[in-house]
Amino acid sequence: MITLSQILAWITQLDTVYTENKAYLTELDSAIGDADHGINMARGFSAARKAMEETPPADIGAALKAVSMTLIKTVGGASGPLYGTVFLKASVTCMGQESIDEEGLERLLSEGFRGVQQRGKAQVGDKTMIDAWDPAVTALKEARASGGDVAAMLQAATAAAEAGRDATVPLVARKGRASYLGERSKGHQDPGATSTALLFAAARDTLS
């Protein structure tokens, strides 16, 4: 069972994690982007955390919806609408709920994933956050199918997201800003896949 207060802890943890990794994500974005991904993520989740504190949400759906709205309004760039969509679509799966079970977690994350996929139209292998999302959601589903609990699901998802993140290194980008570099985008880890892996790790650490 995942409670509202765990979800809030997750958001708080995301603020902490992105603030800690602000320079690292920005550095990754310097190599194949415009040197702002860490700044964007930290700005967005510190605002999201503040929003949770200022107006404590009544349920998980409301919490995720408020996070989504905050990200959309404060992040900008590609990651604002993309992560904003993740949380928006996720919120729809659990409106009014104060806790969710394994099935609810799977729906929450796979709907979030479907949202970002539709929004950004990227495929696996395009060197974007999808390269972390796709294997993570698959692993999460498999873990539940084979009887895993929340902890096992998020452990599997995180490991898969991190492997997906690492797998972006040799790719040539076909979506997002890195795609302008063509062949030169090879050999660099995608910033968005990295922030997605961090998102799963934070979920594992707070929701399990």
């Binding site: 194949i32 415009d34 040197a35 700044i39 309004k73 900008g76 979506k175 800003r177 795609s179 030169r184």
Partner: protein, 333 residues
């Protein structure tokens, strides 16, 4: 990092304050959400024309707000697309019932955020058309990629389309004209140095003493190719060829061109580059009807330049010559 600022987080907001104070006759600034709007907005019976994008490209876009050009501009964080709430509020502020045109540069972030804004506006009954600028010949285009970046043609489009709106053309006419400008405009840029995003605190890339980046965009991102320092002549030959053979432009064509500095390039060099561009155009039988030489679409303090060429007809030249009264471009008033 050496910059003339107070703190990285306050750069955009504090710069907006200065803009507002310096140009009260032309524009007003709204801070939450942030947008710059014509002092006399909404202008009755006129299609609204708005644009937006990350900050750090000044004078674009805020410096092009005013009579004969943009009705409003939405500044994002440095090099980061603004958010839909900014675009929505700006759209409402300039809407006078004839619809609003969104000029969007082709970056994933800009496109997605403007899409959301357009949905929000349409839900409130404001007719919105969006035109996406994608003119950068340095980017190899394909069905499977994000396509070309939007760069210099944006400036020429904002001038021409702004004049069209000022003349009273309909939203459809203005949007069609914008698409035509995009279809006929091409750009390419290069950098001698990188730039430093204030919050990042260090240069986005490092270039050696004898190195340059060819085919850069406007966000301090590396270019398509790192190569050795070249003369102005070699650079304009190379970039001119890439641009003129892309459309392609033919002998006898008329063009409006821009030789644009990336923010840290002195005017003495830009004029020298313009002389080279005249030479290249002449050799191809292309006539430069109008031109801009200066820093118009920049990447903070980056040293480098870009060339934009827009194949033009009489109507475009006339619209170009129409009065414009903005902080960054001014004539006829």
């Amino acid at each position: 990092m050496k910059k003339l600022i107070n703190s990285p987080d306050d750069v955009v907001q504090e710069s907006l304050r200065g803009m507002e104070a310096a140009h009260a006759d032309i524009l007003k600034v709204n801070y939450d959400p942030a947008y710059i709007v014509r002092a006399d907005a909404p202008v009755k019976d006129k299609v609204g024309v708005i644009s937006g994008g990350g900050s750090g490209h000044e004078p674009m876009h805020g410096g092009f707000v005013g009579r004969g050009m943009l009705d409003a501009a939405c500044p994002g964080a440095v090099f980061t697309s603004p958010t839909p709430d900014q675009m929505e509020e700006a759209t409402k502020a300039v809407s006078s019932g004839k619809g609003v045109l969104h000029i969007v540069k082709n970056y994933t972030g800009d496109v997605l955020n403007f899409e959301t804004a357009a949905d929000l506006c349409q839900a409130e009954g404001i007719e919105v058309e969006a035109v996406v600028v994608d003119d950068d010949v340095a980017v190899k285009d394909s069905l499977y990629t994000a396509g070309r970046r939007g760069v210099g043609t944006t400036v020429l489009m904002e001038k021409i389309v702004g004049a069209a709106a000022e003349r009273g053309m309909s939203l459809k006419e203005v949007a069609d004209l914008a698409r035509k400008v995009n279809a006929q405009g091409r750009s390419m840029g290069m950098a001698l140095t990188s730039c430093t995003v204030p919050s990042a605190g260090k240069p986005t890339f490092e270039l050696g003493e004898g190195e340059i980046e060819l085919g850069i965009g406007i966000h301090g991102e590396p270019g398509r190719e790192r190569t050795s320092l070249k003369t102005a002549r070699e650079l304009v030959d190379y970039m001119g060829e890439a641009i003129f053979s892309d459309l392609p432009y033919k002998s006898g064509d008329d063009v409006i061109v821009m030789v644009n500095g990336m923010g840290g390039t002195p005017l003495i060099e830009l004029y020298l580059l313009y002389a080279e561009l005249e030479r290249v155009a002449k050799a191809r039988g292309i006539t430069i009807k109008r031109r801009l030489v200066g820093n118009y679409i920049t990447s903070l303090e980056m040293q480098g330049f870009s060339i934009t060429a827009l194949k033009c007809d009489n109507q475009m030249v006339q619209l170009w010559d129409d009065p414009v009264h903005t902080a960054g471009l001014r004539w006829g008033v």
